[in-house]
Amino acid sequence: MIEYLPNILFFILLLTSSCLFFRNLNRIRRNIFLGKDLDRNDQRSLRWKNMIRVALGQSKMVSRPIAGTLHVIVYVGFILINIELLEIILDGLTGKHRLFAPYLGSIYSFLIAVFEVLAFLVLVAVFFFWTRRNVLKIKRFLKDEMKGWPKLDADIILYFEVVLMLLFLSMNATDSILQDLDPTNYIKAGSFPISQFIAPLFEGISIENLRILERSFWWIHISGIFIFMNYLYYSKHLHILLAFPNTFYANLNSKGKFKVDVNIKNEVQSMMDPSFLIPEGKNTVPDKFGASDVFDLNWVQLMNAYSCTECGRCTSVCPANITGKKLSPRKIMMDTRDRLEEVGENLNSNKGVFKLDQKQLLNDYVSPEELWACTSCNACVEACPIEIDPLSIIMDMRQYLVMEQSAAPAELNSMMGNIENNGAPWPFSNQDRLQWADE
């Protein structure tokens, strides 16, 4: 029985961390669906293609070649090393070391070599990422909204990756030595182009101690992965999962096409023409125009908020932000997520029923000053590597300010007054529209 203790322990660890992970994932799902309905199930083949190109193919990442290339390395490393993770988990459950080796033969050696090279490249890429954030101090990583936890969060993720890769390589290094010293327990398999350089560190250590070391690395590595998996929920790193649905359900229309609320068409028509009768059952004016809180946004906008990695490409191209205004599209996404998580916590502690908290996204998180600085130029939407749409949130909140609170800046009120009275944003008579032809 005692010989199975590690397997049982591992099983418990796997089960606990998976349960935690799926519980948290479920909470995210619940929070996302607090948003309004939006049908994005049309053009499915185009959506699949878009997801494959943008999320799987990283097509938008590489528009910035340095960050893009580094990211592709970490991304490919992450995906491929996860294949090895399958073997590591089976090792934990069955106690059988290098389970796939006998079936794969020389391909196995090749794969292990590839994983090692990738692990090394990931380390190099992570080093550059860390340098960009902490030494080169690239501007977009140092904006106001990045102070405190967001900065720490970004660094923690990098440290996680370093530790995991080093453990993976150390595990292989000790394993490769044991393959020679202890062939009954450690079958000869794999090739170790990178860890061979670490191996000398472990030479001269007794077989007993090497076994302990190898198992320790193995346990810390897999535990680290489980911790990281559960850290995701608290971090900005959910994009590794959500980038896929996020690009699948992205807006496929022209970026200039803003949402047209066809529900109010009848109401508008009856206002313009008193003889127009609203067809029965067709008067569907919403209870509230626009958005003042996360409940007023649609589920895709809320998923956008969870998907955001806070890379700040949006903010770095925002004309308002570049010229020193308060608006930062990244902050809009971070605020939306923070408010949504606050609502989520509220639900968790009140048995799933939202208890009014006298707070909302508008004012408590996002100020009107930020919203009015937007030029609706779509640069943020274009820049996002996973097609997040901060502009749609800004526009929904503007709509709330104008239609529910009549809180537009005074100049915009006079512009709108002009349109209403004489059909142009300036106070000219509509009868003079053709005067230019005679001038």
């Binding site: 004309p319 570049i322 600085a373 944003p425």
Partner: protein
């Protein structure tokens, strides 16, 4: 003398134009933009294009109201315009304003207004392709021209090449700014910003964009939007570069090249 028939007049004569020229509020009332309107009409007249304007029957598309958040006012404008356009059985529209272009093209269909909408640079490119329009290169030979992408033409509707193809016909040197095409920087006018003061910051957006444009050492900054034109012209004045750099619409470039 410009020949600018209205739809009402043509209808009274029992005629129907091939295309409606949507002039837009800026093109009708703004002194700088009126010059663009006239330049475009001169080209339409020269090429013998069958067109008409709505004149006093045209009214704001509702774009600035919509971007400011007033969906109601937007729809009032839209429904009014759609009623007018549909009463004339309009099928094809060309406009010199990317904001009108975007709204008519993308936001009117759901409200019952379905038209084939073109920006004037697309329209002129088509005339060029049909060989109805020829562009004389001489006047701009050797000049450096940089093109400022209007957000509502470029990013919003993926039209990047039409204006560039036209500029290239001028025998001029087309130089690109650091951020151009899908990465083009806004002039600062969109989203109803044109009609209000900017929020507190270190700089005006149009100054930032003008500085980018001036880095290409251009003789001419080509624009394709009346609002961008205003913003860039103001920027050039602010930088006291009026003597060296002109801001011109693509239609004005072609009208000038063709001595119209």
């Amino acid at each position: 003398m410009l020949n600018v028939p209205t739809l009402a007049k043509l209808q009274a004569e029992g005629k129907k134009p091939n295309v409606v020229f949507w002039v837009g509020c800026a093109g009708s009332f703004d002194d700088r933009a009126k010059k663009i309107t006239k330049a475009f009409v001169k080209i339409l007249n020269q090429t013998g294009t069958s067109f008409a304007v709505l004149g006093a029957e045209e009214t704001c598309t509702g774009d600035p109201a919509k971007r400011a958040g007033n969906e109601f006012l937007f729809q009032m404008q839209a429904l009014q315009n759609i009623t007018t356009l549909n009463s004339y059985d309009v099928t094809k529209i060309v406009t010199t304003c990317p904001h009108c272009f975007n709204t008519l093209k993308n936001e009117y269909p759901e409200l019952g207004g379905n038209y084939n909408v073109m920006h004037h640079t697309q329209f002129l490119k088509q005339l060029l392709k049909e060989e109805t329009l020829t562009i004389e290169g001489g006047k701009f030979k050797g000049k450096r021209i940089t093109f400022h992408d209007p957000c509502y033409l470029g990013r919003a509707n993926n039209v990047y090449e039409a204006p560039r193809e036209l500029i290239q016909k001028l025998d001029a040197e087309l130089v690109e700014m650091k951020s151009c095409k899908s990465k083009g920087l806004c002039c600062g006018a969109g989203g109803a910003q044109m009609f209000k003061d900017a929020e507190a910051g270190d700089k005006e957006v149009n100054i930032e964009r003008t500085e980018e444009a001036l880095k290409t050492k251009p003789d001419i900054i080509a624009a394709a939007c009346p609002f961008c034109n205003t913003m860039m012209t103001d920027g050039i004045k602010n930088k006291a570069q009026e003597g060296n750099t002109q801001v011109m619409d693509v239609a004005e470039l072609i009208a000038t090249a063709n001595d119209l």
